[in-house]
Amino acid sequence: MDFTLFQQLFVNGIITGTRYGALGVGFGLILGVTGRFHFAYSTTYVVTAYAAILAAEQGVPLVLALIIGLAVGAILGMLIEGIIYRPLQTSAPTLALLAIFISSLGIVIAGQNLIRLYAGSRSKILDTGFTVKGLSLGENTFTSLDVVMVISLWAVILGVWALIRFSEPGRMINAVRVNPEMARVVGVDSGRIYLAVFGIGSVVAGSVAILSAMKYAALPDMGQQPTFLAFVVAFLAGIGSGPLRTALTGLAVGMIESLSGLWLSSQWAPLVVFSLLFIYVAVKPFSLGTSFPARARRLLPLGAR
């Protein structure tokens, strides 16, 4: 084995794995607390990046532009929940899971093409605000932007963890996740918690989007791959897992993907992630009978047995 290559891939694994972990944390929070199959995670992701870029293009200072981007993404996430998902849940609870997924597909395709229409199909780069320098550690190379990315994404992940662990809103989010009915009983307004969770999840996704727009570029369909990864990481970590576990799962996925480069050429990387997911699904024990209607029925209060 080529040890230098291994080291380089290991460093790359930390960088990509951190990104995957953050993506998983945002989506996993939404899925774990609300149970919504929020495919439009992709839309809030793209919109955050573009909002920041457009603000920066207007001459808004970078920090402010980033805040604007994150805020726009968060508000969009909350609007999607409040205006689109929730009415579907109320009007036809038994079909809501299918309806929500189909609607989110609609949001993604409409959002993506609205961006193409207004911002053009060509890639846009978000200026970093500092000179990106190449760094090296031994024989491994990476950039100062990579360092900023890893540090800031772990800061976001730990921030979400601390928020949920130590603050009162965090406790309420946990309450809704663990036992939605008891949460209502003690007076938690689960509607507001859902909105908050969509907001937080969108901010986490948006942070990744902004850093990706700095490192690579922003494209109208830049959200698809990250959403796929977010789904995979959130499911592999287990629905309802906490942020730390999800982030570490993401790190592991990124590491495995990167290290597979020892044997495979990098174009097969997506297949590696898919195989992990496939194996995970294949070894899950048989449990038939949770088609959408049946599951929705289970979610409804059915009284004392």
């Binding site: 009007s91 036809a92 299918l98 189909i102 949001i107 093409n113 992630v273």
Partner: protein
């Protein structure tokens, strides 16, 4: 003219995908985002074979179908064992991965795609112009449409819809739900592979943009806008979506590039709006050609509107049986019978089930006397419903033996237990809400040739005959429970009491002779109690063996010929309900001790 034909041909190709997706999502209730990607698998297979090896049109298409089927089935099998989330997750991932690989692998020409696909020639005739293609695409689509129609409107399709509505209920009626789902996924993947090959040959290029996420969503938009569960709806959806492009380009005067963006924005918005305001789509599942014609004629003012069927409600009057006698002699001339002298239809010995550390069932022994009603009572949490799950195979016991008419049925899956002659009902009825009452019951008739694809297409005569017989059996069962006036109502529109009777008719239609009733009297209004109890007694008088779990002890007393008293997972007493009531110890268990 060639321009219009070109548009029409595009519709025909998209219609292949739309029919396939509608069968899968609309009929079977299984969501897949991967069918466009499976089309890519097919299309690229055909293109690659043609470009690299000069494989001719028809064999290349067959390989394309094979590739779609293989990949689709292989990926869906693990996911179909689990809940819907995993199917969405896995098809979405498959789609992302296939599309990424197509672009990144050098064999497939990257984002430009594969060019130089061989010409199409059929029966020695070269096909070049759109009007030539029309001659093969149109017959192909007609044949596919008819085949899908046959599939969707057969006993096979009825099972698919049953799965869509409620997998567990469908399985409890003796249908092998998992195999049906895999079969459906394989058929629709094959159609996607075919569609991919058709698209690639028609456009003479295989490129990633033909099968992109935009295209996948467009396909889903077609069936959602048109109407899920109705094949006409899919055709309408295809027409609307395909026609919107030239219309936008010409009428709105947009550049082709912008027009395609507008289109996709419109489709996306349409998905959201339709889901919110008209989830059944433009042509709902219940609509038929005849109803459509009638509707158009009504629009023209020639026909009066038909009276809308009054939706059933809890207030609907109970059927005629209400008037029948309710007090009746017990079997054995009114004397207390010793049921242990009767033959046992079901014998349960030493049944054990632990959940974690909790002993739900802990060495249970009981027997169901043939032709009698046996009650299972006990305090909350005694494990009664778990017993039903265990003996029908829905849960595997840790130990113990269950025999049905002397045959060991322990560890046999639920659908096979049902076919051997023991079926169960559910506390929350689990009728299939969007199917008609008749379909609910006809679904339960066992051994229907029309549930097998071979018979559907190659033995239409005997299949049709068997279909009529199944219908007769279903009507007979519904007549028995007094619900024959409700045949065409969707089961979900009925009142709860009526649904309980439909569920009972459904069990009778399976022909099983052991019926396990889980709380037959719970949740129904007093006025429905007598009719339901009467039907249960009449069912026993037909010679069926019945076991009831019921908390309303008055109901148990009226129905049960013999009662087992369960506490903490074992039987602690048995006898008639009167015997049991007279034992002070049991009262203490049931009501607590002071």
């Amino acid at each position: 003219m060639e321009y219009q034909i070109d548009i029409f041909n595009q519709m025909l190709i998209f219609a292949i995908f739309a029919l396939s997706l509608n069968l899968l999502i609309g009929y079977g209730g299984q969501v897949s985002v991967a069918h466009a990607a499976l089309g890519a698998a097919g299309g690229y297979t055909a293109a690659y074979l043609s470009v690299e090896y000069g494989v001719p049109y028809i064999p290349a298409t067959l390989f394309a179908i094979g590739a779609g089927t293989l990949i689709g089935t292989a990926v869906s099998v693990p996911a179909l064992r689990l809940s819907m989330d995993y199917l969405i997750l896995l098809t979405l991932s498959l789609s992302t991965v296939l599309l990424t690989l197509i672009v990144s692998l050098k064999y497939f020409g990257g984002s430009y795609g594969l060019l130089g696909i061989g010409g199409v020639s059929v029966f020695g005739k070269d096909i070049v112009r759109p009007s030539d293609y029309l001659k093969i695409l149109l017959p192909l689509l007609v044949v596919l449409f008819l085949a899908c129609w046959r599939l969707g409107h057969s006993p096979f399709g009825r099972v698919l819809k049953g799965i869509r509505e409620d997998e567990i209920a469908t399985r409890s009626l003796g249908k092998d739900v998992f195999m049906y789902k895999v079969g459906l996924f394989a058929i629709t993947s094959a159609m996607a592979g075919l569609g991919g090959a058709a698209l690639v040959y028609y456009s003479q290029i295989a490129s990633p943009s033909q099968f992109s996420f935009d295209v996948a969503t467009t396909m889903i938009a077609m069936i959602i806008i048109g109407g899920m569960g109705n094949l006409w709806g899919s055709l309408l959806g295809v027409v609307l979506v395909v026609v919107s492009r030239p219309v936008l380009e010409k009428q709105v005067n947009a550049s082709p590039e912008d027009a395609s963006l507008y289109r996709l924005i419109i489709y996306g918005a349409a998905l959201v709006v339709v889901m919110r305001l008209r989830p059944e789509g433009l042509i709902p599942e219940s609509a038929s050609l005849r109803a459509g014609v009638a509707w158009i004629r009504r629009l023209a003012g020639r026909l009066p509107a038909p009276p809308a069927p009054a939706a059933g409600s809890a207030d609907a009057t109970p059927p005629h049986i209400a008037a029948a006698r309710v007090a009746r002699a017990r079997p054995g001339n009114g004397l207390v019978e010793d049921v242990s002298q009767l033959e046992a239809a079901v014998q349960v010995t030493g049944l054990v089930k632990h959940f974690g550390g909790i002993r739900a069932v802990d060495g249970l022994d009981f027997r169901l006397a043939a032709g009698r009603i046996t009650g299972l009572v006990g305090p909350n949490g005694a494990g009664k419903t778990t017993v039903f799950n265990l003996i029908t195979g829905a849960i595997r016991p840790d130990a113990g033996v269950v025999t049905l008419r002397g045959n060991n049925i322990t560890n046999i899956p639920p659908h096979r237990v049902a076919r051997r002659g023991m079926v169960r009902s559910f506390q929350d009825v689990r009728t299939l809400p969007r199917l008609s009452v008749l379909e609910n019951v006809a679904l339960a008739v066992p051994n229907q040739p029309g549930e097998h694809l071979g018979n559907l297409f190659f033995r239409p005569g005997s299949t049709a005959r068997a279909g009529r017989e199944a219908r007769e059996k279903a009507i007979e069962a519904l007549r028995f429970v007094g619900m024959e006036s409700r045949l065409e109502y969707p089961a979900g529109a009925l009142g709860y009491g009526e649904q309980k009777l439909v569920a009972l008719a459904r069990m009778l239609a399976t022909g099983a002779d052991v019926l396990l009733l889980d709380e037959p009297a719970s949740g129904i209004d007093q006025s429905w109690l007598d009719p339901i109890l009467e039907v249960i007694l009449q069912t026993r008088d037909m010679g069926k063996t019945i076991c009831i779990v019921e908390h309303n002890l008055h109901v148990v007393e009226r129905l049960a010929d013999w009662v087992y008293f369960m506490e903490a997972g074992i039987v602690t007493a048995q006898g008639t309900m009167r015997d049991l009531i007279s034992q002070p110890r049991l009262a203490e268990v049931y009501f607590g001790n002071a």
